[in-house]
C-alpha cells in the first residue's frame, strides 16, 4: 500500500489524523503502563544486591531513553522546518519540547532516588547526570525562547537553530559512560550480547518503554492539535473541520 506522506505535511489533513491517533495511543499507553507497573512492582523478583530499590529503574530507564529520543525527533523536525519551511514541522517540534522536558525531569528525579540507596548520594556532578541536566535546561530553554518571541514564524526559526545546536548533547549523554570513568554505570540492556538481568526485569523495562513511547505519541499529538488551533485560527478551515459542539 502506498501512502502519500506529503499529504500529512499540511495541518489541514494532519489535524483529524492526529486526533484519532492520539486517542488510540493513549489507550495503548494506559494498558501497557498498567501491565508494566504490575511487572515492575510485583512480578519482577527482588534484586540480589540492590534489594527493592532497583525497582526505580523501571521508570528511570524508559524516561531517560525517551528524553534523548524526543530530543533527536525534535531536532529532526526542526531541521525539516528550517530546510523545507513547512509549518507542521515547526509545530511538531514545538509540541515535543514540553514532553521532552518532562521525561528528562523524571529521569533525573528517579535517578536521584535510586542513587541515594545504591551509590550513597542523591546527586553527583557525574558526566551522565550533568549532561542529562543540560538536556533538561535545553528543553526548558527552547520552551522559554518560544514564549519570548512574539512572531511565531521567527520563533520557529530561533527554536529550530537552538534545537539543532543542542543536539550535540545527545551523543554526549549516550556515550558519557564509555568516554569518561564516571559514577553512572554502563547500560544494562543491549541489543547485542546476553541479557545481564532476569527475564521479568527485562520484560518490565521493555513494557514500560512501550508505555512511554505510546504516552509520548498520544500527548504530543493532542498538543499539536492545540497548537494548530492556536496558530491557524482565522485561516478559515478550522471552523469547518472541527465539531465545535464536542471539541475539548
Amino acid at each position: 500500500m502506498l501512502i502519500n506522506w506529503f499529504r500529512f505535511s499540511s495541518p489541514v489533513s494532519f489535524y483529524p489524523v492526529a486526533g484519532s491517533w492520539s486517542y488510540a495511543f493513549g489507550a495503548i499507553a494506559a494498558l501497557l503502563a498498567g501491565a508494566g507497573l504490575v511487572v515492575a512492582l510485583y512480578i519482577a523478583p527482588t534484586d540480589a544486591t540492590q534489594g527493592d530499590a532497583y525497582r526505580i529503574i523501571f521508570i528511570h530507564v524508559p524516561a531517560a531513553w525517551m528524553a534523548m529520543l524526543i530530543y533527536l525527533v525534535m531536532a529532526g523536525w526542526s531541521a525539516a522546518a528550517l530546510g523545507f519551511n513547512t509549518r507542521l514541522s515547526a509545530m511538531m517540534a514545538q509540541a515535543l519540547a514540553p514532553t521532552g522536558a518532562l521525561m528528562a525531569a523524571i529521569a533525573l528525579w528517579t535517578g536521584a532516588f535510586w542513587g541515594r540507596p545504591t551509590w550513597g548520594t542523591y546527586w553527583a556532578w557525574d558526566a551522565r547526570m550533568t549532561s542529562t541536566l543540560i538536556l533538561l535546561f535545553l528543553y526548558l530553554g527552547i520552551v522559554a525562547l518560544r514564549a519570548a518571541i512574539e512572531d511565531p514564524r521567527r520563533a520557529d526559526r530561533a527554536c529550530a537553530v537552538l534545537s539543532l545546536v543542542g543536539a550535540v548533547n545527545v551523543p554526549i549523554i549516550y556515550f558519557s559512560v564509555q568516554w569518561w570513568n564516571t559514577l553512572h554505570q554502563g547500560s544494562s540492556v543491549s541489543l547485542t550480547g546476553a541479557p545481564k538481568m532476569a527475564m521479568a526485569m527485562l520484560a518490565g523495562i521493555l513494557i514500560m518503554t512501550g508505555a512511554a513511547w505510546c504516552y509520548t505519541i498520544a500527548v504530543v499529538l493532542a498538543r499539536v492539535q492545540a497548537i494548530i488551533v492556536e496558530r491557524e485560527r482565522g485561516a478559515g478551515w478550522l471552523e469547518s473541520l472541527i465539531d465545535l459542539r464536542t471539541a475539548r
Binding site: 530499590a53 525497582r55 526505580i56 521508570i59 528511570h60 528525579w109 540507596p117 485560527r233 471552523e239
Partner: protein, 63 residues
C-alpha cells in the same frame, strides 16, 4: 500489603520516585487539557461571539 508497601526497607526511595513521576505526568495531562479547553473556547468565541452563559461572558471580557 504492608510488606508490599515497605519495599524491603526502600519504601521512601521507591515511592518518592514513582510518586514524583506520577505527579509530573498528571500535571502534564492537566495542563494539556486546560490548554485544549482554552483554544477551543477561543475558537468557539471567534465563530459565534454571542455569550451563552455568565462564565463565558467573563471569558469574553478578558480578551
Amino acid at each position: 500489603m504492608s510488606e508490599f508497601l515497605a519495599m524491603g526497607g526502600y519504601a521512601w526511595y521507591v515511592w518518592m520516585a514513582y510518586g514524583g513521576a506520577a505527579v509530573a505526568i498528571a500535571v502534564e495531562i492537566a495542563s494539556l487539557r486546560a490548554r485544549r479547553r482554552r483554544v477551543f473556547d477561543e475558537l468557539r468565541m471567534s465563530v459565534d461571539p454571542t455569550p451563552r452563559s455568565p462564565s463565558m461572558q467573563g471569558a469574553r471580557s478578558q480578551r
